[in-house]
Amino acid sequence: MKHRYEPGLVRAGPGPLIVLTALFITGASCGPRDVVRVQRDGEDRISIVDRTGKAWDITHGVNELGLEPERFQYGLGPFAITPIVDPDMLTPGDQDYPDLSETTRVIGLERSGEARAYPISVLRRHEIADDVIAGEALAVGY
């Protein structure tokens, strides 16, 4: 199959409030693209191109999982939303440790006797925190 440029039309429907809020907070330009640029090359690789010009291989997703290229939206680029990586953690007794009655909503988990809590408001901004809990490498997401 020779290389061809095949634009697809994306319905610019309303995203959920959380997506738009996250994008607004990160300062990224809002709104899904009207057109997702889909690229197919001579080796039958299928890619989508984001607004930074970066091509992302989605071949397996399309061929094996039935994903439709046109349903990928925004394409803000790989560094528009940056994860928290290997964060410092506060322990009880630390000056800034939250009060035990604190109502802040968190994602919490306990693994092998170690418990960690991550405020959801922070996770909304970064989408992912890459952390290690009791020696287990996890990506905390909301």
């Binding site: 995203g15 997703g61 399309v62 994860p83 035990l100 604190e102 968190v106 994602i107 890459d130 996890l138």
Partner: protein, 80 residues
């Protein structure tokens, strides 16, 4: 919440800047494979780790107070 260890290597997961049906699509810094949430796991949808899977790990959502009551040694994200 997902395991980010594969074949003994650690992956650094991040938002890719893409959504699919209003769900964020992730990728890893190490191989730039895109990871798509499907049926309680992440699946690599293209790139070097296409077809590989990262399992989800159980977690809870609630108030800090509720979690702290059960786990008084809870470590809390230190974020400026």
């Amino acid at each position: 919440m997902y395991s980010r260890e594969l074949d003994g290597q650690l992956l650094t997961l991040s938002a890719s800047g893409w959504t699919y049906d209003n769900t964020f699509v992730l990728y890893d810094y190490e191989t730039e494979t895109m990871w798509f949430h499907r049926e309680d796991e992440l699946v690599g949808i293209g790139g070097p780790l296409a077809g590989r899977r990262l399992p989800t790990i159980p977690s809870e959502t609630g108030s800090f107070a509720e979690f702290f009551e059960r786990f008084p040694d809870t470590k809390y994200l230190d974020y400026p």
